[in-house]
Subunit: 458 residues, 2 copies
């Protein structure tokens, strides 16, 4: 019998994260005057221990024991061979995935929520605020805060808040509070509502609200938490790829192709960065971040300095961006509805280390249903984007008659997104096209901003 799953024991879990900042050059984040930001500028927003981690260039960073203890509620996650998918496609490719859907909130997000809650706890923080798109991140942070006894407040993008009511219930089950964004609780929210009372909301607006809620707490015991984009988030997620490497090694495999969906970039980075390290050191691997065609950050937008949020509370970050005022269409893959992209992921595109792909919503669901009916797990809408690319690559391997080894990240399950599958089956799910005009319009915002350098690390 072919073995489907490769496990690591808890004793084999990686003890260090991989920090890609040791291996690539980066444009610095800037303040709104175009000057490199100072660490203390970020102190009202994040605890200093996380700020230091954000800028660290040490290649390997120890994972604290108390973080490992909580991660071991579900980690190491299984590496699964997609035997039934291979059979259904008749491909000579061997396809493996890291199943990140096994965490209690159902995605890879707690990989960083847990260390973030831990570092906040150590720093004496009592309350954390954050935003959430599809709800995966907000529930992950609620879960993590619950483990460390910290209060948690989540601003959830309205379109997802309405589409996915059970995400709120999930956050409450772990003691978190969840409100729809834009809300009337913050200036950023009130401004957004004044501009458009019927706005579906966006991650950009929700981030502004969450930052404002944290920094305006007079006790000084609140901090904000971001579920993607930032360096320390990518760092924490590398446990995915580091585990996958160990698991593949156990069965004598190494990937030719790596695929992950990319919204802010953390799921993709988590799987890919440890392999990017190998690529930097001479390995040949094709690495594909996959984004929605309706929010085409890496594939159709420029590399610029832009704010991470709509109100401009964050530093200017060097990244591919559709503009911080861009409100993506109401895709079900809420986790991919982000105007920008992690600076580290952006830099790897600049350097030609990774090749972004875009897929449409309907193509993603077609792949998702195929995977549900072969591998059994019903995928999250975000994951479906990676799956469309996996199916493409597996078919290509068949056409070429090549025994490629494909590794992808199953970022989450879709059990709280079943309404979207309903709409897909009933023909009520649609594709959104983004015109060249819309993209050019969104780019106007950058004209007055500083320009990042197109750095090459080697």
């Amino acid at each position: 019998m072919n073995v489907r799953k490769v496990f690591l024991t808890e004793n084999e879990i990686p003890r260090k994260w991989y920090n890609i900042l040791a291996d690539i050059k980066m444009n610095p984040p800037l303040d709104s005057n175009g000057k490199p930001i100072k660490l203390e500028d970020l102190a009202p927003v994040f605890p200093m221990n996380l700020i230091e981690q954000e800028v660290s260039t040490r290649r390997w960073i120890d994972i604290p024991e108390d973080v490992l203890k909580v991660l071991c509620i579900w980690r190491p996650s299984p590496l699964v061979r997609a035997l039934s998918l291979e059979k259904a496609l008749g491909t000579p490719a061997r396809i493996y995935f890291k199943n990140e859907s096994v965490s209690p909130p159902g995605s890879h997000k707690p990989n960083t929520a847990v260390p973030q809650a831990y570092y906040n706890k150590v720093f004496g923080i009592k309350r954390m605020t954050t935003e959430t798109g599809a709800g995966q991140w907000g529930s992950a942070l609620s879960f993590a805060c619950c483990q460390f006894g910290i209060e948690c407040k989540v601003f959830m993008v309205r379109v997802s808040f309405d589409q996915k009511p059970y995400r709120k219930s999930m956050m409450e089950a772990w003691g978190g509070k969840c409100i729809a964004s834009p809300s009337t609780e913050t200036k950023a929210g009130r401004d957004a509502l004044a501009k458009n009372p019927d706005t579906p909301g966006s991650l950009g607006i929700a981030i502004s609200e969450a930052i404002e809620a944290a920094v305006s707490d007079k006790t000084g015991k609140s901090r904000y938490s971001l579920g993607s984009v930032l360096n320390h988030v990518m760092l924490h997620q590398t446990i995915i790829g580091l585990e996958a490497k160990k698991q593949l090694k156990k069965i004598g495999e190494y990937p030719d192709i790596i695929i992950g969906c990319a919204g802010g970039g953390s799921n993709f980075a988590g799987l890919a960065f440890p392999f990017v390290y190998d690529k930097i050191n001479g390995r040949e691997i094709d690495i594909y971040p996959v984004e929605p065609a309706a929010c085409p950050t890496l594939t159709r937008s420029p590399f610029v300095y832009d704010y991470g949020d709509t109100a401009g509370y964050t530093p200017l970050l060097p990244m591919y961006s559709l503009g911080h005022e861009f409100v993506p269409p109401p895709l079900h893959a809420g986790g991919l509805r982000y105007h920008g992209m992690a600076p580290t992921v952006s830099q790897l595109v600049i350097e030609g280390m990774i090749e972004p792909k875009a897929v449409t919503q309907l193509a993603s669901y077609e792949a998702g249903v195929l995977l549900a009916r072969t591998e059994g797990i019903i995928p999250a809408p975000e994951t479906n984007h990676a799956l469309a690319c996996v199916v493409d690559q597996a078919r290509k391997a068949k056409e070429e008659g090549k025994e490629k080894v494909i590794l992808f990240s199953w970022s989450g399950h879709g059990l709280l997104d079943l309404g979207a599958y309903d709409r897909y089956f009933s023909g009520n799910l649609k594709d959104y096209a983004l015109s060249e005009e819309e993209i050019l319009k969104s780019e106007k915002v950058f004209e007055s901003y500083p320009k990042p350098k197109r750095l090459k690390s080697r």
Copy 2:
């Protein structure tokens, strides 16, 4: 660092199921004239290979290779030490659970759905019908049928169909069809609707509908499938306890106490029967099936011959029963809303091998929230009943200062039951009391039936 999870590799998965019929005496199932039924009487309902398994008294039965292949999509399931719960309760007890929520449908149900679909496939069956309460069973059979290329039709108890719409979407994601019961598609359904158009439905009625839909298919290629109660279902579920035994052995543990929720009995039996075998052979273990106080089959109803369904299509089974016309109150734990109990589980109560407990709905949610906030996984409403008993036993161990080893079954997750948690948090969830009068009334139905013997196996 204390290890939380104990895994088995796929090569260590049990290769045989344990059949308790080898070790206990049973009253035979009877036809409606009070005569022991013949195997061929069941042939229109079940494929003959499963009927033979239903009556087999061989102690160990091989698990077919093609069944193991599909089970390995998620099995062997983790054995988890509930370290955080232990800490929260300050109990000297060591608490372990089998996490059956990791299957794609989210519960233990596919442990029998997969072999049932396999045996039907081998027998040449093209279409399977079934009923479902909370939806766990219907989605499990849809999943299993999808793996073997069999059509699947599910009659879902209306109260759950309305409370848990995503269960239908889940079945459809795997290609199954799901309709609310009572429906107008069957005589049993139409009769139930004529009697009470506003009925919340019941498992008894839904079973009648599903059997009727199978046996009335003129092609002869349809069969019915039951997700609990029957001997072969209990047999298939013993993989839970057999795995748990191997896992506990790896860490040098053996349980003093075993706890599982019991509706039809299959989750409880799956964990407990392999340990009942040890108890028969001299081990001291306390074994507790836990049922809802509002549907108190084992704790308050008589041991009788009764039908498994409302219309009386099944044989008369020797079991504890509230009467096949009893419609349980609309508890959220839909999987526990059953008027009867597996004959094997019933017989073990008669013999004093296991001690049933009943808990109220609110007590069960209180325990469920405690577990969600310690162990992280949000439990299914059915699981919550077991959890209430676990918390009681852990507290008792603390009072007595005893290092008891408690093993329980985490039968499923509650991600599609979050609406019930909403109602719990908002104070809108209630307890249902069942008066002595209601129980006596429901028992009248048995007056004219044959009486089972109170057999003692040793």
